[in-house]
């Protein structure tokens, strides 16, 4: 009897919840009507004279009607922008037109909703780490970077991609202009050569499991393994290098001999102080080979490691 009473109570609670829920939904969300004529309903107004260019979309993959995966093959404009609803109707005097789903960080549509539209289709493994990633947590919308209605999305071209990324990443923009840098400002490299802005498992959005694995894609000659490895080189290139740019040669964070003396101070020449006395005008001719030219690398040129049987001191 008691059990019967509890079951009855549970069922009443559930029914009440459903009713309340439906009432709440009914009052908050009215299903929008789709258009009668699809894209024609939109393009009648949003034509080639539109302030924001719409028609170049049809030169792109999104506009291809013969690929069943694309927006234009599905619900056309309303696939992404949602049902037209009252948007087509002329607004009353003093009122704004009924809005439709819009894209970009300044749009009224919540960023999460905008991004879900894109991710409904673009949900392959390249974007697995979008959620919880740094750009998602910054409430970045896909449309903040990508231009869907352009003949060419600027994010897919090196010279224009860098301009977009560095509109937020100002420090990196300056670093690319330093004395020694990867050729990003020459448009010979782009941010997405190293980073996946959609999210990765690694820190700093780099595309590979570790930084070194990324560097080895272009600098495979340093991959080794070598007989006499230089330990920090094998572990992490950024112990010594700043990959975006540096005022020191070879993207180094500091130059030798002081760079090397941060880790090497054994008795003899590694521990000596090299100063202005070693300059061409200075008093010490002995200091010059440790200070001038390539400094420590005047002899220890195999700085990334050596495979020579006599290369233990990185001289061979």
């Amino acid at each position: 009897m008691e059990a019967y009473k509890n079951i009855k109570l549970l069922l009443i609670s559930l029914l009440l919840s459903i009713a309340l829920n439906q009432l709440a939904n009914a009052s908050e969300v009215k299903p929008l009507q789709y258009s009668k004529k699809g894209a024609d309903s939109c393009l009648k107004c949003h034509d080639e004279d539109n302030d924001y260019p719409i028609l170049p979309l049809f030169k792109t993959k999104h506009g291809e009607r013969h690929d069943s995966r694309t927006p234009m093959a599905k619900l056309q404009c309303e696939t992404c922008h949602g049902a037209i609803g009252d948007h087509k109707k002329t607004a009353k005097k003093g009122e704004k037109k009924s809005p439709i789903r819009a894209f970009g960080s300044k749009a009224w549509t919540p960023v999460a909703e905008q991004n879900q539209v894109c991710l409904n289709c673009h949900n392959n493994t390249a974007r697995n780490n979008w959620f919880g990633g740094i750009h998602e947590s910054e409430s970045l919308s896909c449309a903040d970077c990508h231009t869907i209605h352009a003949r060419r999305d600027p994010m897919l071209v090196a010279r224009t991609q860098v301009k977009k990324c560095t509109s937020c990443h100002l420090k990196q923009k300056a670093e690319f202009n330093r004395r020694s840098a990867h050729p990003v400002r020459f448009s010979k490299m782009r941010c997405s050569d190293c980073h996946n802005p959609h999210g990765t498992v690694s820190d700093k959005l780099i595309k590979t499991g570790t930084k070194n694995q990324l560097c080895y894609r272009c600098h495979a000659e340093k991959r080794g393994p070598l007989l006499w490895a230089h330990a920090p080189v094998s572990e992490d290139c950024t112990v010594c290098h700043n990959p975006h740019g540096s005022m020191h040669p070879s993207l180094l964070k500091k130059r030798p001999p002081l760079l090397c003396q941060q880790c090497h101070g054994s008795a003899g020449h590694p521990s000596a102080l090299y100063s202005g006395a070693g300059l061409p005008s200075g008093s010490s001719t002995t200091q010059r080979k440790f200070l001038l030219g390539r400094s420590c690398l005047n002899c220890h040129s195999q700085i990334h490691g050596s495979n020579h049987p006599s290369g233990v001191k990185l001289l061979r």
């Binding site: 919840s17 013969h66 879900q116 100002l170 393994p225 054994s266 000596a272 300059l279 006599s310």
Partner: protein, 706 residues
Amino acid sequence: MPFSVKYSIVGFSFLSLWLSDFVLADDLSEGLNLSIDKSKWKCNYCPDNSDEPWFSEINSGIGFVSNDSYKFGEYNGLYKKSAFLIFDVDAMYRDEAANYFSIQAFNLGLETRSVTMQGGQQGKYNVNLSLDNINRYQLDTARTVYNGTTNQSLPATWVDGATTAAMSSLAQDLHNINYYTKRSHISLASNVIQNKKWNYDIKFNRQTKKGKTPFAAAIGSTFADAKSAVLAKPLDYTTDRFEVSAHYNHNTLNASVSLVNSVFKNNYNSLIWDNAFTTGASTGQISLEPDNQMQQLMLNSQYRGLSDIIINGSFSIAKLTQNQTFLPYTTNLALTTTALPKNSLDANVDVINANANLNWVINEKSKIKLIFEHHEQDNNTERATYSYVTADNALLGSSRANLPYSFRTQKLKMNSSYRFENKNKILTGLEYALYDRTYQEVNRAIETSIWAKYANKLSSDINYSFKVKSDIRKANSYKVLTELSPAENSQLRKYNLADKNTIKALLNVNFTAFDDLFINFNLEKSSNQYSNSNVGLAKSDDIALAIDIQYSINEALSLSSYLQQSLISSTQYGSTSAAGSDWSADNSDTISTIGLGSNYIVIEDELSIGFDFVHSSANGKISLTGATATPLPDLISKRNSLTVYGDYNYEEDITFKLSYRYEEYQEQNWNLDNVAQGSIDNVLNLGEISPNYKIGVLWTSVKYVF
């Protein structure tokens, strides 16, 4: 039934339905289960690709560079005083059967050209081909006495000297040598779509790198008698990378598996050079990078079938191998060496990466992400003992065994975010990391991090965020390696292993006014303290300020400007007695970058002009203390670049373009300044001069659209 259980049942029912709302609310598959009449959806107003399947732009013209400079043309190919051709192509084709083709080609008139082509039938397959030349013009002020590639010899007229000052034929035997590298990438890739669930990729990439780069090599048994020369290391690298992948994607699950094979080959395995000094062996031989290979298997997957929870997993395992035949201990036949312990290294390293993470959207205000990471590099290379010869001059009394370094990093992270009613957000994170290493001073280090960020949207026009992070790294112990001879200073701490405290703070402000003015302000500071490092790096700081302003004054005129200032400083201690510190060095690098630009539409749809200006300067100061310290001059580099341009639309399809760039660069570098070939007694260097140029480039072109 107890009172509390009754109400728990009621509460649970409500909770279930409330949560279910969030599952449904996020489902934006609006076409699902809706019956929409598309019979009148004719797309009559949609542009018809069959009318104009092609869209093409060609930009062609001519330019002129006023002076030679490798530094100016470092990566843009404009290193010579000469005329050059401009030829860029941007074309695409798309027909009514979903066939498409696209080509983009830039700088076809220069050595630094690039071409990217893709085509296929959309929804079925695509093929991509790209070619890109990245040439680097490194040094054009060097002079050397050596000739040759892998065997660098002295001229017949050469006279050895005890020091460079004593090399009597040095001046007459010098000749110019330019250092540059030419890198070429060719990529061919294809994607085939089998059905809605499966698609496959195949990719091939070949990189070649040829040229020469400065490279010093020494002959001698101790630092006192070592004599070195700066040579030209020949480069002839080829790296081939081949990858095949399969991708699965259906509803709540996606997965991919990839196999990668990468092979690096070096056409040169050693460099032999003549000794230019009177002491030491007559020749030396140094090894060049050996051939190596990598094979890798990668797996990635995501499951999103649980309400509000996404689970990701990735795993890769790679094997790195290298087995090039060893060179002999020495080419000095006067020395009697023991046999090599083996003919080649037979190096073998396994690299494992694993990551699992779980994203949970608890409700519309809060999210949490849990992450586990594992990186491992197991060096299975055999150890052996080598009776090495120091720089082709002397046998060492004792032998050394190689150290096959292994590394492992494991991290646990938890990130969370909470959004307030007014859209402000607070984000927090915790991280715990273990670092394990073999054959190094620290076997295990633990790093814990905590961070918090507050993001506030004051209005639709102003928002700011402030983040602060603290990392603490502790080594379980720091030991002096017995394998090294001479032994390292027991008070020195290598900064990548030493105990470290880091504090980072970041402030970002965005401001918009009148929809025309955008201001972005960033200030970040990072401070590292190595409190247990009596010798070595003791502290480092990095402060960076950036301001970016974009202003559209009216429909015709826009302005942009940015300023970035960085101050990077550090303090390190040294010891001339390999004990407690008795000298110090403070490095302070100040780097400034300023940009200014404007675009003005003089006549709408007809004439526009503009300019871009960039200033980048750096000043590096080193302050030394110690008994024998004397000052070093500042390190200075400065670049100013001004480009002015104009575009005239002669007709809708034809645009005339005219541009002029003036750029100047100066550098003061005590490493190189006044360092002639004979300036360092026991180093025959290149006498290179710090780059310094003033260059103008004028170019004009016609863009034709058809």
